[in-house]
């Protein structure tokens, strides 16, 4: 009798490990009300590390939903090196007031390696434009709004995040403020601290490949600045970047001339010289007022949610390929993460767990945007690989249908509804252009050898 039960126990002990190691990923989706324990006597506490567009949007959503939110920022008045372009849908969705916008860019010019220039923007409606803002202006507006909703802003540097050892113990955020060390216990942490995220390091989220974006802010003479009144320029070519593009973007009273690369970071200065040479006629005589550089993530981190810590924005790696756009996705992911926490905790009343974060935030985010990201990755692979492909890209951009589709997808972040016939023509022209330019490319190789 005893041996039989002993055998049964041993049998179940051996069987148990086999059952708890699933080969396939299982996500338990509970459609019924949450089975998390309710919090007594206080609301759920959340810490948002980093108060850029991502962190501020998350803090705003959390505070508006009733969660006690602490927003950490190490340099509230910092000016981030950034293109500063945001799409129209961001102005609507995040209620950005018009007074923050420095410029309305309605024309875009792309230059191929052989300087074939195409004017983008013929299809824009009068009320459509790309808004150019100063990051410090946008960031402080979003931060102030989060504060007015009830988030507590803490100007301090987060030094480390203590991971709890038991399932409902709090996370402890260690930070230094006014040269003193402090600690804050919270239930949920949102990491919005950018490309070198400390939160990501604390939860061992893994690293990602980064591009480096390098730019110089140049003050031009008035007549030259007039040319860039509402025009932004993009340059492609192996001389200016082997796997990205170089740009001349107008800012409030100067232009930002820069370039980026993933694979040849050590040559970035050479590429910068090359873009200055390419745009020479239009920017000569200008004075360099600032030089800045910043890493841009190329793809999401291997882990974006662990325990009750979620990563958003650049910390998670939500930057599209091909265009390098990150501001909208940062703000949107912040808001979605904040709303996910509100929903899972039922307004701050209940504790949440990792599954809640994955189900309400990651799953929703991936479902909504993975196609966009995949498509832009495909475009980058096809068109940024070689000079021949870049020539084909610029040729294609001359077509009005392509321009309309591109702008609509960019401005509204929705798959623009096109015409089947025009789509087919576009695909046909794409293949044709790529083939012709590749033929020329092969001939060029022949000339070299």
């Amino acid at each position: 009798m005893a041996s039989a039960t002993q055998a049964a126990i041993f049998g179940s002990l051996f069987a148990a490990p086999l059952h708890t190691k699933p080969r396939s990923v299982t996500i338990r989706i509970r459609a019924s009300k949450s089975s998390n324990p309710p919090i007594v006597g206080r609301k759920l506490r959340a810490a948002v590390i980093g108060a850029g567009p991502a962190g501020s949007s998350a803090a705003e959503a959390l505070a508006a939903g009733g969660v006690e939110c602490f927003l950490f920022e190490r340099s509230p008045s910092g000016a981030k090196p950034c293109g500063g372009a945001i799409p129209l849908c961001m102005l609507d969705e995040f209620d950005i007031p018009a007074r923050l916008i420095d410029r309305h860019v309605t024309r875009m010019r792309i230059f191929s390696p052989s300087n074939l220039a195409v004017d983008f923007g013929k299809t824009l409606q009068p009320n459509e434009f790309i808004a150019m803002l100063r990051r410090e202006v946008l960031d402080s507006f979003l931060r102030d709004r989060a504060q007015s909703r009830g988030a507590s802003l803490i100007s301090g540097l987060v030094t480390s995040l203590e991971i709890p050892t038991s399932s409902h113990a709090p996370y402890v955020v260690h930070y230094s403020k006014d040269s003193a060390r402090h600690a804050l216990a919270v239930d949920v942490v949102i990491g919005a601290d950018g490309a070198n995220s400390r939160v990501a390091k604390s939860i061992k989220a893994g690293s990602y490949a980064c591009a480096i974006a390098f730019q110089e802010r140049i003050k031009l003479t008035d007549d030259k600045m007039e040319y860039y009144e509402d025009l932004a320029e993009m340059y492609v070519g192996n001389d200016v970047s082997p796997d990205f593009y170089a740009w001349v973007f107008p800012k409030c009273d100067h232009v930002a001339v820069g370039t980026g690369t993933v694979c040849s970071k050590q040559d970035i200065k050479v590429f910068q010289r090359a873009i200055r040479a390419r745009a020479n006629a239009k920017i000569s005589g200008g004075k360099v007022i600032k030089v800045e550089a910043h890493p841009i993530p190329e793809h999401p981190r291997p882990t974006r949610v662990r325990g009750r810590v979620a990563l958003i924005g650049d910390a998670a790696g939500y930057v599209t390929k091909c265009s390098g756009e990150g501001i909208y996705f940062a703000a949107k992911s912040g808001r979605m993460c904040g709303e996910a926490i509100i929903k899972a905790s039922e307004g701050g009343e209940r504790m949440i767990n990792e599954d809640d974060l994955k189900r309400e935030y990651l799953k929703v985010w991936d479902a909504k945007y993975i196609t966009t990201f995949r498509f832009l990755d495909l475009l980058q692979k096809v068109f940024y690989g070689s000079d021949a492909a870049r020539e084909a890209l610029v040729e294609l951009c001359g077509d009005e249908y392509v321009q309309r589709m591109t702008f609509e997808s960019y401005l509204y972040k929705k798959l623009a509804d096109g015409n089947r016939w025009e789509d087919a023509k576009m695909v046909f022209n794409t293949v044709g252009s790529l083939m012709r330019c590749n033929i020329l490319g092969k001939k060029m190789e022949g000339l070299k050898l």
């Binding site: 990923v25 052989s114 220039a117 070198n196 040559d267 030089v291 550089a293 882990t303 974006r304």
Partner: protein
């Protein structure tokens, strides 16, 4: 932070952007090329000049020399295309500060098709060759874009049949020939092994699959490198997706929450 610090320190000595601070490319063209030591173009050019093959290096050496001395004149001494009607004996080189691409037939940012006429019709092959040479020149000597001399030529100006005749048809002939040989010998082999004739083979599902594989193989694998390239392509297309799904793979049971 550290990246920006490292990059900011050397460049604080570059206050202004006056044109005189640029190296004068005509007189110092070689040093200009050497500013980019890691550029693959420079290194392969160097290897070509080191005598990869006698005629080859002579060709590039001759081709390179005029480019240095007279940047205004790309010499069309021994061009591949036989149909070059007019030798490009353009104007003598003017010493300019900026070396631009110049050719007698390149007018106002596009190729003057009238200068490419051969027996009354435009010689598209010569246009394609000239454009390839221009792009190669620009690859080595990138030009500044300017609003005064916009580039207007793009490859869609050359009609589709010119491309087909020159590039598609020879390749098509090659591939069709391969397919025919593979097909004939497979049909013979299957017939000798199973006794099933050609017409009856086409009715069999397995044979139809083999036919499909043979056609696909002939189309996709044209050179030895294609096998490796296709595998790399497959990896590349799925790589980004794998990076996105990585967060969903991370199910480590027993992790304290």
């Amino acid at each position: 932070m550290s990246i920006s610090m490292a990059l900011l320190s050397p460049s604080t000595h570059l206050p202004s952007l006056s044109p005189s601070s640029y190296p004068k490319p005509l007189l110092t063209l070689k040093p200009y090329l050497s500013l980019r030591p890691k550029s693959p173009l420079f290194t392969t050019k160097a290897s070509a000049e080191n005598g990869a093959g006698a005629p080859g290096s002579a060709a590039t050496a001759v081709e390179a020399e005029p480019k240095v001395r007279e940047p205004a004149e790309p010499v069309a001494v021994k061009s591949g295309s036989s149909g070059e009607a007019n030798g490009s004996a353009g104007p003598a080189a003017e010493v300019e500060v900026v070396s631009l691409f110049e050719d007698a037939r390149w007018v106002n940012g596009t190729w003057d098709l009238k200068q490419f006429e051969k027996s009354g019709k435009t010689d598209w092959d010569a246009v394609i060759d000239a454009e390839a040479r221009r792009r190669k020149w620009l690859q080595d000597n990138p030009e500044s874009s300017s609003n005064d001399n916009p580039i207007l030529f793009d490859t869609s100006i050359v009609p589709w049949w010119a491309w087909v005749k020159r590039y598609h048809l020879p390749e098509a002939e090659l591939l069709n020939g391969r397919a025919a040989m593979v097909g004939f010998f497979s049909a013979y082999l299957v017939d000798s092994l199973t006794g099933v004739g050609l017409v009856d083979q086409m009715g069999n599902f397995f044979c139809k699959t083999l036919l499909f594989v043979a056609v696909a193989g002939v189309l996709l694998i044209r050179k030895n490198e294609d096998v490796e390239n296709l595998r790399k392509l497959l990896d590349e297309t799925t790589f980004y997706d794998k990076q996105w799904q990585a967060t969903w793979q991370d199910e480590t049971p027993g992790n304290p929450k």
